[in-house]
Symmetry: C2
Subunit: 443 residues, 2 copies
């Protein structure tokens, strides 16, 4: 155990610490010190008696655990939250795409992303892998709210709502990466949209750029029956196989959804060292299907959880995502014990960090790691009693129980409230919404 | 439209009122007056200008709708919340039954029910159909918290944890009904547990008592594959068919779960005028299966929503129940538009009232109805923007957004906090939990 320092920026006391390390080590009545954005020490409260801190947080027996890593999101799409529910997938996509084409600009992306990231921060998320157009705007939003971000240029085979023809898109990607290497709090991936929006040549170009720049890829793959049909028509095979043939499927690759996989594809995923961002809320709402979690786990694939965007959610709630991951695993297997609660919490924390390539820095509470963590207050009636903390987190707790959130040592939620002021962005999102759907008074 | 009275107990102003009547009538910028526990009037704010009220609530543009009617619950089972997760169904039942046998008394039921009903009230529930041992204790709890209750004597074919042999159980039932006919805020049903815990003769005795006392029945039916096997062994048929043969399936009968139904049974349900309490959270968590909502709706069966008990939940959240109802209907049918959000809100409100036999008094906001209602605050980031209020309620809102709850005119939640003090009961539940599972410090 690392000794507690004499001075710290923040000292959290009287917490039930869930470190989420491989042994699921817990510390009852624990303390944790933050210094310079990192976890300086953690251990029994008595060990911290000599530590002086600028800020002391009495956890009052609450649960202290790593912040959630949301490994698949389109934060700015809160702009279209619930715009096109209760219609078949193609109707949903048409409505959302039309709204995107008319209303997505760097300015609206920034406002939407601030709102989306604020929602996530309030729900215990400290790092997000975000795929969307105008990624510089989302980076600006993340810096405002304080949430860590894995960002990157998006690749699609047509001009897209950012109006970039392919050569310009490649140039933008190179420039974006050059601009943001080393940007504080920002990690980089390349983000080819999917095998159904990119032809083989373009997929290979992205794979080559990924090799050259030393950056992993984040891609949608095998999400829905409609995608499987499209990819079969366009490529004569499955998403997983064409991504592999084009060099996209390699160590560090992060695949969003990965619902429709055969046994050979699961083995391939494991062999290639790719990770999965499981998105059970979106997969349920859009009738995409139930991912084969049991088989993926058995194969040793790194599993993580994503909320997807709010237009298919309709919120960005990692607690509901954990719970839905459990339900779909259980219903898909018929086995109530197929996915224990603590393994789901692991997927949402250290699994997410590993899937995002940040396993050495995030996802576990240990000295030297980024101080990305949340404190859960256990006093609400729906959390009493709490026989098992992991069961409490997955099956009873919600974002309303998140009291404090620190991201790289910065207190981004205090007493259940966001520390950043986002009134201007809320007003802007409401104004955009009024333009998208003029109608009766709304919030 | 009924004119607003000159005086009211409570006047709620500036609300977006969702009446949940058959036409889904909405009133933007609306006002609602409560007098004598009933809705006195509702309409545009201007119509209420002359009303003087002892208490005025400015809704600030929030959604005002009927309180949820939870049509299947075992409130006191919060005592065992999360006690036995992540194990197969038989292991789960064994652990819970052992804890029940050792720790269920009228006193612990009262404390647990206070906690469970408080949780529900905070989540917008104004009326609960509750099936559990020692129902007098749950009635006492409901009176304390202020939630309306449909209660009744439980019938099982063995002694049970209330230690009542069959003749005593029949006598208790008669006395309980005599004692509580007319008890304020309490409705009565007879509650035979299920076809797998009662033989044919006993089911017929309950049916005869139901006819004689003029009370409908509430019964578990066709919940899980294991039940289907048990009933086949014991009765040589299905739960629905044996319940019908014994006279249990009749107008007013409320069937909990009703997951495993063939086409003929769905037609039978509709013909008999029985209603269903759909419990999607419990059905998912215990791998019970996906109810055939589409076929049940098509047949015209009255559908409502239940949380089930917290030992199979693990919470009592009607928002999550609504959302899960959508997900299971979508996944079960492969159709994202199979169950529109507003129909789900209807299931949770007027559907619940109808299923509980209270359709004339509850479930819709209209003059003369019980003042059972909730106000949803729309200011949280996860609710912005809100293009459609029903989509917002089902796919984005949560109990954390419930600001005010009135049950029969009594304000049971104010500013997101319970108006009743329940500190003693929380301490008692924690003490029981410590006896059930002595171990590390818990909340």
């Amino acid at each position: 155990m690392t000794a507690f320092p004499a001075r710290a920026d923040t000292l959290i006391t009287d917490a039930r610490i869930l470190t989420m390390d491989d042994g699921f080590t817990e510390i009852a009545g624990g303390a944790l010190a933050i210094a310079g954005g990192k976890i300086a020490a953690l251990g029994p409260a008595s060990a911290a008696a000599g530590t002086e801190a600028a800020e002391v947080v009495d956890a009052r027996g609450g649960l202290l655990l790593p912040g959630f890593v949301n490994t698949h999101c389109h934060a700015a799409m809160v702009l279209f939250r619930g715009l096109a529910d209760d219609r078949p997938l193609d109707g949903f996509l048409k409505a959302v795409w039309a709204a995107e084409a008319a209303h997505v600009t760097p300015g609206t992306v920034r406002a939407g992303a601030v709102l989306g990231l604020a929602e996530m921060a309030l729900g215990g998320v400290t790092h997000v892998v975000d795929m969307y157009f105008h990624p510089d705007a989302t980076i600006a939003a993340a810096r405002k709210v304080g949430v860590g971000l894995t960002s990157g240029p998006v690749f699609i085979g047509f001009d897209g709502i950012d109006h970039l023809p392919w050569p310009d898109r490649l140039r933008f990607a190179e420039e974006f990466v050059a601009r943001h290497r080393g940007t504080d709090g920002v990690e980089l991936m390349l983000m080819p949209h999917s095998a159904y929006t990119l032809d083989e040549a373009k997929l290979r170009e992205v794979a080559a750029m990924s090799d050259r720049l030393g950056l992993p890829v984040h891609v949608h793959a095998a999400e829905a029956p409609s995608e499987m049909r499209l990819v079969a028509e366009q490529h004569g095979t499955t998403p997983m196989r064409i991504l592999d043939a084009c060099g996209i499927l390699k160590p560090g690759a992060l695949l969003a959804h990965a619902v429709h996989l055969d046994d050979a594809e699961i083995a391939l995923l494991a062999e290639r060292g790719a990770a999965v961002a499981h998105c059970p809320l979106s997969n349920a709402k859009l009738a995409s299907g139930m991912a084969r979690l049991k088989a993926l786990r058995a194969a040793g694939v790194t599993l993580s959880l994503g909320t997807d965007g709010a237009s298919s959610g309709n919120d960005l709630d990692m607690f509901k995502t954990m719970r839905q991951a459990a339900y779909l695993a259980i219903l898909g297997s018929g086995e109530p014990d197929v996915l224990p609660a603590r393994d789901i919490v692991a997927m949402a924390t250290r699994g997410g960090a590993a899937a995002a390539g940040l396993g050495a820095r995030k996802g576990v509470l240990a000295p030297g790691r980024d101080a990305d963590l949340m404190l859960i207050d256990l006093s609400a009636p729906h959390l009493i009693p709490a026989y098992d903390p992991y069961s409490t987190l997955v099956y009873a707790a919600g974002r309303e129980d998140v009291r404090e959130v620190f991201a790289r040592g910065r207190r981004i939620v205090a007493g259940g409230r966001l520390t950043a002021g986002i009134g201007d962005e809320i007003a802007e999102v409401r104004a955009v919404a009024a333009r998208i759907a003029p109608g009766p008074a709304r919030n």
